[in-house]
Subunit: 222 residues, 2 copies
C-alpha cells in the first residue's frame, strides 16, 4: 500500500535504484495529526518531506510580535517541502505549518531525504522543483496582500469559503478571517459592517450569512 | 574568455558533454545594458538566463495600478533565473527587471536553456536551485515589508545607501525611497520629517544628509 502512495507523490520514483526504493518504503511513516496542531515551527524542527494523504495544512510566516501571514494551504495530494527546508541549502527562511483539518500525513525524515538527495540528482531536483512551486504560491499571496484592496480580498475570501463548505452560512470569527487575510481584525470588522450595510451579508454572533451572492460575486471581479 | 566566465557562473559545467559545452560557448552572448533600461517585462518576454558580469539589476513586481515592490537586487557574480521563468514550469508569476547601474550581462537564451535542461538533469536542477535561492530573497523582502516598522526600515535604507555611496549626503528623492521601500511617498516624507525633527537627518531639495549617524544606527537595531 505504502509503495503505491509513494510512487504517486514522489515523481522521481522511477529514477531510484532498488536499494533507495527499499529505504523509502521502510522508513516513510504514516501518521494522523489532529486539527489545531502546529506541525512545524520554523528552524526549531526539521520534520522532513511531508506528503498530504488527507486533510488540510496552512503554511504561514510569523512576525516577532506574533502576527501571522498565510502563505499557502496544502491539500490531499500535495507535497510539503518547506518542512524539510534544513535539507535544501538555498532556503534560508523559516515558516510555520498548522494542521487545519484532521490529516493523514506520510513523512520522509529530513535525514533520509538528505541522504537520497545527495546520492540521486533526481531527488535533489524534486526538492528544488517543489520549493519553486511554493515560491509561486507565495508570490501570489504577496500580490494579494500588497496590491489588492481589502473589499475585494474579503469578497473573494467569503466566496471561496462558501464554495468550500457548500453553504452561504459561514461559521467563522472576524479574528479568523483577519488571520487568513493577513490583516487586522478591526479592518475585517469595518469592511463586514460595510458589506452588511450594502445588503451583501448578514452578520450575527459567530456567523456570517451571504444574502446577496450576485453583489458579492461582482465585488470579486471589480 | 567566455568559457572561463561560463564555468564560473554555471555550476553544472562539469556535468555537460562536449557538445553541450560547445553549444553554450557559441550561443551565450555578452551585452552591455545602460542604466535605466527595463530588461525584462513579466510575461511579455522570456529573455533567458542572465549572468551578471558587472553592474546592478533590480527585480520587482508591479501592481495593476503601477505600484512596484522591490523583491531583490542582483550584483556582479549573480545569476538571474526569473528572466527565464517561461522555461521553469513551476514558476507561474511575473516579475520585472530594471538595470540600475550600467551592466555587462551574459545571456543564455530561454530556448537554449530549455533544450539543455531537458537533456541534462544537472541543468534543470541548477534552474530550480537558483529559483529557490530567489525564493529566500523574496521571503526576506516580504518580512521587511509586512513586519518591520517604517522608521526602522527607513533607517536601515538610509544607512545602507550611505555605506554604498560612502557618503553621508544622499542624492535621492522621497519618491525613489518610497519605491525602494515599497511604500507610499507620503509615508517616507512624514517619517523623514520626524527624523529631521529628531536631528538625525537634514533635508534639503533633492538631498538628505545624515547628521547623527549614531542615532540612525540605534534606530536600525531597535
Amino acid at each position: 500500500m505504502m509503495e503505491q502512495e509513494l510512487t504517486k507523490f514522489l515523481t522521481f520514483w522511477d529514477h531510484l535504484n532498488e536499494n533507495e526504493k527499499e529505504l523509502l518504503k521502510q522508513n516513510a511513516t504514516l501518521q494522523t495529526y489532529a486539527k489545531g496542531i502546529t506541525m512545524h515551527r520554523g528552524s526549531d524542527d526539521c520534520l522532513g518531506v511531508v506528503l498530504v494523504r488527507k486533510g488540510q495544512l496552512r503554511t504561514y510566516m510569523l512576525s516577532p510580535d506574533g502576527r501571522d501571514i498565510t502563505l499557502y494551504r496544502l491539500f490531499a495530494g500535495d507535497v510539503c517541502i518547506l518542512s524539510a527546508s534544513c535539507v535544501l541549502e538555498t532556503i534560508t527562511f523559516d515558516v510555520f505549518i498548522d494542521i487545519e483539518e484532521n490529516s493523514e500525513i506520510i513523512t520522509i525524515t529530513a535525514t533520509l531525504f538528505q541522504q537520497l538527495a545527495k546520492q540521486n540528482i533526481y531527488v535533489e531536483t524534486f526538492g528544488y522543483k517543489m520549493a519553486t512551486n511554493r515560491f509561486s504560491d507565495v508570490m501570489w499571496a504577496m500580490q494579494q496582500i500588497l496590491f489588492m484592496s481589502v473589499d475585494k480580498r474579503l469578497a473573494i475570501f467569503l466566496k471561496e469559503e462558501a464554495e468550500k463548505n457548500n453553504s452561504l452560512e459561514l461559521k467563522i470569527t472576524h479574528e479568523q478571517i483577519a488571520k487568513y487575510m493577513a490583516t487586522a481584525r478591526e479592518v475585517v470588522t469595518r469592511m463586514l459592517k460595510y458589506f452588511s450595510q450594502e445588503g451583501i451579508v448578514k452578520i450575527s454572533r459567530g456567523k456570517i450569512t451571504i444574502v446577496d451572492k450576485h453583489k458579492l460575486d461582482k465585488l470579486t471581479i471589480d
